[in-house]
Amino acid sequence: MITSGLTPIITEHWDKPDLYTLEGYRRVGGYQALAAALKMDPDAIIGQIKDSGLRGRGGAGFPTGMKWGFVPQNDGKPHYLVVNADESEPGACKDIPIMLANPHALVEGVIIASYAIRASHAFIYIRGEVPHAIRKVAYAVEQARAAGLIGENIMGSGFSLDIVVHSGAGAYICGEETALLDSLEGYRGQPRLKPPFPAVAGLYASPTVINNVETIANIPYIVDRGVAWFRQFGTEKSPGFKVFAVSGHVVRPGIYEAPLGITMRELLDYAGGIRGGGEVKFWLPGGSSVPMLTAEHLDLPLTYEDMAAAGTMLGTGTPMLFDNTVSVVKAVTRWLEFYKHESCGKCTPCREGTYWITGVLEKFEHGHGSPAEVDTLVNLCSQIAGRSFCALGDAAATPYPAALKFFRSEFEAATTTSADEQFNPVASYVFAETATR
């Protein structure tokens, strides 16, 4: 079990300037896995992905092979594969780099996954705000099509596939898989009631698998190198490797690919530590929707199970680290302003609740909170969690209670002293410049 060190796999060839082209990708072994896969029985591929233990890299960590296995076969309906490339979770910045640097790994994974679940149509739904990533993926699809890797009777296998690259239009909620489906059907992106799950009734009410970009980018490597190889990385329950994106007050923020089970302390070391030799005040393992941790948690392994045991989640595996200059009151308020803006409005607890939490938090940020409201807000959050269709409501109810657990005194101080008076905002900037206030 390899759980430390850096293991560039998806990122191994990112320094080769033509990796994004078909020729560049083929030069490093690209599309070998596809050739092998098309000679396999589709069920054998599903079995292989099940055996690998690959878990979804979009945040929830659901076993990928199991998801594929839920698709009913021989049901006479068209099947669809939809790639969730709507990366919008605050702190998450690993799918866009994968698409910019190595789009063919995604495309190859899409073709293999579609073959496995017997889909003849796949869609890559990319958020609209990243035109250059959309260009790279659209170009990769076009090159693959011209080379006969997409289209009719791929490599003489009898398998045919069309891939459509689809641009979103600015809505965080469309990262939620059923909202994404509504959006892809040309509607407002609002979550659906589950069940039925997409594997049974997804896109156009047909069986649909929705997978994250990084999840799909893993597929060619697993098919090419095998389950035993894959399971050498990570832990029993969290096998494999992860494209970690480390951001915040670290010396060298960036992409670090490492086995699951690596500790935050080791990753932080590779990233050069906290700037100025400073210390971590709080950090979040994978997006603003997972509860924050502090310096005392730096030695925990970054796995789905260890993060859950610590009361948080691995989420997108994109740690954000904040140093001692940061006001946790301000940080949490800003996240809630985001959830308020992005709530789709379908469920009352989320729509109204994000409005009320944000309103109270903004009072704290400006030093006008009342002592009673410190606890009222906990109650308010508990009224939202678990009471909406999708996880956005739960996510909105997460940051405040998590922050209060570690930094109660800061919220209590915010009943009289504003966040900016407690912490000079200029000190948190990553450039040396006087703020324009």
């Binding site: 300037p17 605050p90 640097a101 705000e129 250059h132 790279k136 239009a169 670090y256 948190s428 410049e433």
Partner: protein, 219 residues
């Protein structure tokens, strides 16, 4: 502006790409913005006609998504991420400097019609904070001074290169790319930078590699 027959043809072409034509609505609305600078009533009607749905149904979709605007955006869309990480690491100061330079606030257009300013949400580039976008192309790692400089150069008609993308064109050109991404610019500019290679470089320096792990059989 009236939607031309050529644009309607493109709408029909987009609609034909999907098993069900309505799926093309989001790209079609981007196409409307590429010719009308905003989602106009004419654009809504054209989408409705092509898809055989009502203009009310199209309006309901257009009003849901943040990237669609119901008033003219102008030549350049300027976004500054002010979500927690970018905002606290300096995005707030970047936004303030741009707001002062342009004399406008959030979701407003400058009097000369050149710039639209917007506080945007997380742009999936937190490793490059604070992040700014111009016509949705990345301008990574900005400071208040460098952000104002970008706007100044654009205002003078000078060339501005995206940090991970092509030379900046204008808002309408990007909107066209979102409908038709094969715009010939895929090779332009850099897409992979030092921050995206940070871990790979550390691994290379320290002699760490996953390649040394033997491949197992396809069990």
């Amino acid at each position: 502006m009236t939607i031309s027959e050529a644009t309607r043809d493109q709408m029909r072409d987009l609609a034909a790409r999907y098993p069900k034509s309505r799926s093309a609505l989001l790209p079609m609305l981007h196409l409307v913005q590429s010719v009308d600078n905003e989602v106009t009533a004419d654009g809504i009607n054209a989408c409705a006609e092509v898809l055989g749905i009502t203009s009310a149904e199209v309006t309901a979709v257009a009003s849901f998504y943040t990237m669609y605007k119901r008033k003219p955006v102008g030549k350049h869309h300027v976004g500054v991420c002010t979500n927690t990480l970018c905002g606290l690491l300096g995005g707030d100061a970047v936004y303030a400097a741009l707001s002062k330079r342009l004399g406008i606030g959030n979701n407003e257009r400058s009097a000369d019609g050149e710039f639209w300013l917007e506080r945007i949400e997380c742009q999936a580039a937190c490793t490059h904070a604070p992040v700014m976008t111009v016509d949705w192309e990345f301008m990574d790692d900005v400071t208040p001074a460098s952000a104002v400089d970008v706007v100044d150069r654009l205002a003078r008609g000078e060339q501005v290169q995206s940090t991970r993308g092509p030379v900046i064109r204008d808002f309408e050109a990007t909107e066209h790319t979102l409908a038709y991404p094969l715009d010939g610019l895929v090779n332009e500019g850099e897409a992979v930078d030092a921050k995206m290679l940070a871990g790979l470089r550390v691994a290379q320096e320290r002699g760490m590699s996953a390649a040394s792990v033997p491949a197992g059989g396809a069990s």
